[in-house]
């Protein structure tokens, strides 16, 4: 059925697009006026909301922006962990609409354009080689510009693989494709840095979410500021945020998820929160194989919310259905992508493949023990490198090991940090015992945070163990894999500080912020000297 003007009553917006002066012109003008008024009101509300952002949070967002911008500037192109492969994936997806292949392809791990750019800028031999330096002479820059101008049209889309990261799901790379195409100028380095800058936004997003998590957990203002400062000043996180790597999107998703999960637990389930939980979980699956670990905290938050709030059965089923439905849609999208991607396929080689290996529970438990604690007399030597464990991952790798892991923190600093981390765990345990009543009152929040942390760590250990069955010297467990847990680390530190008497807490907060600033500047200084001195 259509009205006199020939428009469907179900599509009123089309009336405004009609070129003919319709009798309903006055109505259109009124509608346009109403829309403009609504837009003005929305803008006013947004402005008011922005004015409502606490000043300490604004200051910490500024801190994060400077921190990550400095890392973007100091880390030469393609020097982040596996960054050349991540860029190659994003470029191929942006140019052709399909990901590169993991094991087959045309023999080109990256496009001709990327290879030539890396050659001229001295970036290939720079990766992980401490004695190397990037090219910085004017003549090399000029010659690269000439070479780039002479490249054939297909030089940017011929990197069909094999690509080591082609098994990753496509969400992050598709997002980077937008920056790739939107970058002005069309030069490779222009596109490359546009992608780094857009990737850094994920790191910046983590800062307000860290604040929101802390706001759910702490009544005073200062613990919120401390949690957020620890996230904003974490040098490894900022260094990762400054490079092209899906790990930073995963960290942002997990931070947002943790906030929504805690909010749901405390404030009760709403349609919006359940949709957000479903969307974030689906995004986690579509970002990285390690994103699968989100299923455990998702199940936990749904169960704990039901236990705490006891919603009506029908309502609860509808809510869970909504959340799980969105997650299922994400999983179907992942499977569809896997089907379309031919030789690549999401998670191939990274998470899948357990069925092919002879897994020994005894060996796995022994490996876990020896990762964290000294080997006991009756144990066989652990699988994989003998000197790779807690210190290398949770301390050296969590705070340092920048670029392609070759920029390490000084040994003394790692010693101090290791002592600090061990003391933190001991203090948290002591606190849990001493304040058992509070823990019991908020058991679900504590359990949710614990489950989130442990599910990620356990998954990484399983993948690491499985990988070492194939290549014993590659533990496939780096400090950056723990970046989604930085907000949990910050909450842990702040919980201990908040338990101190007020003056002691102020002293400790000052000490921690000072130390974090020193750590942030040290990481940048070490990188400056490694690459340019």
């Amino acid at each position: 059925m259509t009205d006199a003007g020939g428009q469907s009553p179900g599509l009123p917006h089309l009336a405004g697009q009609s070129a003919a002066p319709a009798p309903g012109g006055a109505v259109s003008r009124r509608r346009a006026g109403a829309t403009a008024a609504r837009a003005r009101a929305a803008a006013r509300r947004s402005l008011a909301r922005l004015r409502g952002v606490p000043l300490p949070l604004t200051a910490l967002i500024v801190v994060g922006a400077i921190h990550v911008a400095a890392w973007i500037a100091v880390t030469p192109a393609f020097q982040g962990p596996d960054e050349a492969a991540h860029f190659a994936y994003a470029q191929h997806l942006a140019e052709t609409g399909s990901p590169p292949e993991k094991v087959a392809g045309n023999g080109l791990t990256q496009s001709t354009e990327q290879s030539q750019a890396m050659d001229w800028a001295g970036l290939h031999s720079l990766i992980g080689v401490v004695g190397a330096r990037p090219a910085w002479s004017d003549v090399e820059e000029r010659e690269w510009e000439k070479a780039e101008a002479a490249l054939p049209a297909d030089a940017s889309d011929d990197g069909e693989g094999p690509n080591a990261v082609a098994g990753n799901p496509p969400l992050y790379y598709a997002y980077e494709g937008v920056a790739y195409h939107a970058a002005p100028g069309g030069s490779l380095f222009g596109r490359y840095y546009a992608m780094r800058i857009t990737s850094a936004l994920f790191y910046l997003v983590m800062i307000p979410f860290a604040w929101l998590i802390a706001a759910e957990l702490f009544a005073s203002l200062w613990p919120r500021a401390l949690v957020t400062a620890i996230v904003a000043l974490q040098p490894k996180l900022a260094a990762l945020g400054a490079t092209i790597n899906p790990d930073i999107l995963l960290a942002a998703i997990w931070t947002a998820f943790l906030y929504v999960a805690v909010r749901t637990l405390r404030g009760g389930p709403t349609r919006g929160r359940l949709v957000a939980l479903g969307l974030l979980s689906a995004a986690s699956l579509l970002t990285h194989g390690r994103g699968l670990a989100i299923l455990a905290p998702l199940a936990a938050v749904l169960l704990f919310t039901w236990l705490r709030h006891r919603p009506e059965r029908r309502e609860a089923l509808r809510g869970i259905g909504l959340c799980v439905g969105i997650l299922a849609a994400g999983a179907i999208a992942l499977l569809a992508f896997r089907g379309l991607s031919g030789g690549g396929g999401a998670y191939s080689g990274d998470i899948s493949g357990f069925a092919d290996q002879s897994v020994s529970v005894r060996q796995f438990v022994s490996y876990l023990w020896q990762f964290y604690l000294p080997k006991l007399e009756f144990m066989a030597p652990t699988i994989g490198p003998q000197d790779y464990g807690f210190r290398q991952v949770y301390v050296a790798g969590f705070f340092g090991d920048y670029a392609s892991l070759e920029i390490t923190l000084p040994r003394t600093l790692v010693d101090i940090l290791e002592i600090g981390i061990v003391l933190l765990f001991l203090a948290l345990y002591t606190l849990a015992v001493a304040r058992w009543r509070t823990v019991r009152q908020w058991w679900d929040t504590a359990a949710l945070i614990l489950i989130a942390g442990l599910s990620m760590i356990l998954l990484v250990h399983l993948v690491s163990y499985r990988n070492m069955l194939i290549t014993p010297n590659d533990p496939l467990f780096a400090g950056r894999y723990l970046m989604p847990l930085v907000p949990i680390f910050a909450v842990g530190v702040t919980t201990v500080v908040a338990a101190l008497p007020r003056r002691g807490a102020a002293l400790a907060a000052g000490l921690i912020v000072g130390a974090e600033i020193v750590l942030a500047l040290s990481g940048l200084g070490l990188s400056l000297v490694r690459f340019y001195a």
């Binding site: 031999s125 720079l126 330096r133 990037p134 001195a533």
Partner: protein, 229 residues
Amino acid sequence: MRRRPSPRVLALSTALFVLALAGIAVFIPYLTREREAVAGVPVPPPYAVAENIRLAPDQQVCLKGVAIDVDSEVAEFSVASNARSGPPLRVSARAPGYRTGGEVAGGYTGPGAVRVPLQPPSQSLLADFCIENRGERSVQLLGAHEGRTASRPVAFVDGEGIPQDMSLRFLDKESGSVLGRLGSLIDRMSAFHPPVLEKPVLWLLLALLVLVLPAAAIYAVVSSFRGEA
């Protein structure tokens, strides 16, 4: 009776103390320490496995397309053979309108680095960098044939391409501190960057990093203690 300091004062003074301590004990010594001034690394040393280049008497190895910058005053390569008395070598760098070089007298011991002074060009250029064995014994030069260290300049022995890369770097004659050479370091950082990360932006970023980042972070935490007695 003396008033006890407020939590804000305590947090502020502790943070500033930590920064001052780190500045005096770590940052200033690190930034002012004299260190070799690298002027360029056309081919880095091997990452894992060396595959040296053997030069018989009168043979010459050349790297084509080596970038030589205006501060490349010394060329450094490595002799890999266990020589008690290495043969004399002639080093040269050539490009249209540019020629420089020097001699390494025989009798040096190996393995080890060998340095030859060069006359740097007035502006950076791409040159052929050659080493000729002028002695009567062969000599091995440090090289590699690894994917990790494969570099743009290609090596030739007596005009014939070889698979190895010959390790080579250039140095400034004078050593210098990071602080003393900060301008040069920022200049290098800006290479291959889009205009949004050109030199003036990098200088601004450095100022923000050193001044605004610590101030804003400390402000955020200290000011949040407002109302805490």
